[in-house]
């Protein structure tokens, strides 16, 4: 059963507070909730949380035979699981509109913006390539699931290292992590997604990283995926509120700054984790 839309007092209070420049969690309008990244025992296992929104991602790689039309490219598939565990809004088997948007955005941001150098996943042309599978499990939805899932996905790909392989003639040897250091994936860039919520009342400024109530009551969303090098990957607008081109440009500029901040945080957390990890190479 889908939960009913927020009650009248909640709606009125949210709008009046936003008009006074207050957000319910005491944040500034363009402030994100603190990002927490936790890494699991295995490489490519990342738990990312934005406030109470939590997403778990995991990467696995296996060897497959490539199709004849693309003999030298590896694959990546994204499996995004939004179960009723995240919120009673989601149902199994019947994807809601929001769920479809999230899955498609993840596909656009992570797969179609060419994050992964697919040719580097080739082991032996026409015979063997790596198939990466990115599993995204949404654990808890407290607003802005998309940004959290996207961040978790990118960080998982950065965290993951595949086993080293050696090709001698026709023979492929896979070296377990104990004998040769696993190799990080070669990524072209790291896009991050930022979602801004707009409200039907135009006197309210847009908010970044909407919480649950803001997400339910917004009049429009604009999701911007870009990397810290100011390269725009995806811009998606949903909802009926019209936007001036100048407003969109302003938002993109804010997103650029946020992307830089997030990138620094991600790099430092990954470095910390890698230093604390003992990979034994004999």
């Amino acid at each position: 059963m889908r939960p009913p839309s927020p009650s009248i007092p909640e709606k009125e209070f949210l709008f009046s507070a936003l008009k006074q420049g207050l957000r319910l969690d005491g944040r500034e309008f363009l402030e994100m909730r603190p990002i927490a990244l936790n890494f699991g025992p295995e490489l490519g296992w990342v738990e990312c949380s934005l406030g109470k929104t939590r997403v778990l991602t995991q990467v696995e790689a296996k060897m497959v035979k490539p199709p004849p039309e693309r003999p030298i490219e590896g694959f990546i598939t994204i499996h995004c699981e939004i179960s009723p565990m995240a919120s009673s809004e989601f149902e199994l088997g019947r994807p809601s509109e929001e769920e479809v948007t999230i899955t498609r955005m993840l596909d656009k941001i992570i797969r179609r913006s060419d994050v992964i150098d697919k040719e580097s996943l080739c082991i032996m042309a026409g015979q063997r390539v790596w198939h990466l599978r990115l599993n995204i499990h949404c654990l808890s939805d407290s607003g802005n699931l998309l940004d959290c899932a996207c961040l978790a996905g990118i960080v998982a790909l950065k965290h993951f290292r595949r086993a080293d392989v050696e090709v001698i003639g026709e023979e492929v040897t896979v070296h377990p992590p104990a004998s040769r250091a696993p190799i990080p994936l070669s990524l072209h860039h790291n896009p991050y997604c930022f979602t801004f919520a707009f409200f039907a009342d135009t006197s309210i400024n847009p908010v970044l990283d909407a919480n649950l109530l803001e997400q339910r009551l917004n009049g429009g969303l604009i999701s911007i995926a870009l990397n810290a090098q100011r390269e725009l990957c995806v811009v998606q607008k949903s909802g009926g509120v019209p936007l001036e081109p100048a407003d969109v440009l302003k938002i993109v500029n804010i997103a650029v700054q946020k992307a830089k901040d997030v990138d620094t945080l991600v790099e430092s957390r990954l470095r910390e984790d890698w230093e604390g990890r003992k990979v034994e190479v004999r």
Binding site: S5, I8, P9, F13
Partner: protein, 240 residues
Amino acid sequence: MSIVLPGERAPAQHVNLKLGPGLLQASDTSTSINRSAPSIFATRAGTLNHSANGSKWWIESNARRYVPAAQESVIGVVVQKQGEGFRVDIGSAHSANLDGLAFEGATKRNKPNLKVGSLIYARVSLAHKDMEPELECFDAQTRKAQGFGELKGGFLVRCSLRMCRQLLDPKHFLLPLLGSLFPLEIAVGLNGRVWIDSQDSKRIIAITHAIEATDPDTQGMGEDEIRTLVEDLARKWMFE
């Protein structure tokens, strides 16, 4: 006080035994040979408590999903108007029915006009596992509202079920502490919803923060931490 698991037998015995949440008397009489010792089973995991003279027994546990129980006050959202009454979402598996005549002073001609989305403070009058729960907004004996009815303005905070039970405990520190800092109005629903109102948005947000921070499910802050939290917010927004 001891910890019990569902299905475990509770040593509850009294001439005038009253069972609270989480306890069930086995309907099968063959399990208890003499009627003076009825078999009482736990239906949920938690700590088993009883009153001083051992007449009232209940289980304290924490959950996020509400299971209706008769005579509990809850806060619901009207989701649909339906003939004589309303369908109200109280956060349980099924939505509850609220009769249009179950209000103080309501007659066939003069029924309250609640919109879809209105907040209701009501009491569960019927909670049966095979039926949809029913609500009422008055005391069935006196037919007076006694604080129940529509909640206008203010804001709704959602918390764990343990937190809202703690708010009703007169010995709990949070409400006296908030009350000493500024005036506020509060209605605690046992279904994990708390309605609050105060002079302005800033104070309401401060109360929201305080309740969320005290919730044992999140940070579970103590009295001193809450005091500094609220005072910091007060300083930041310059009220008081």
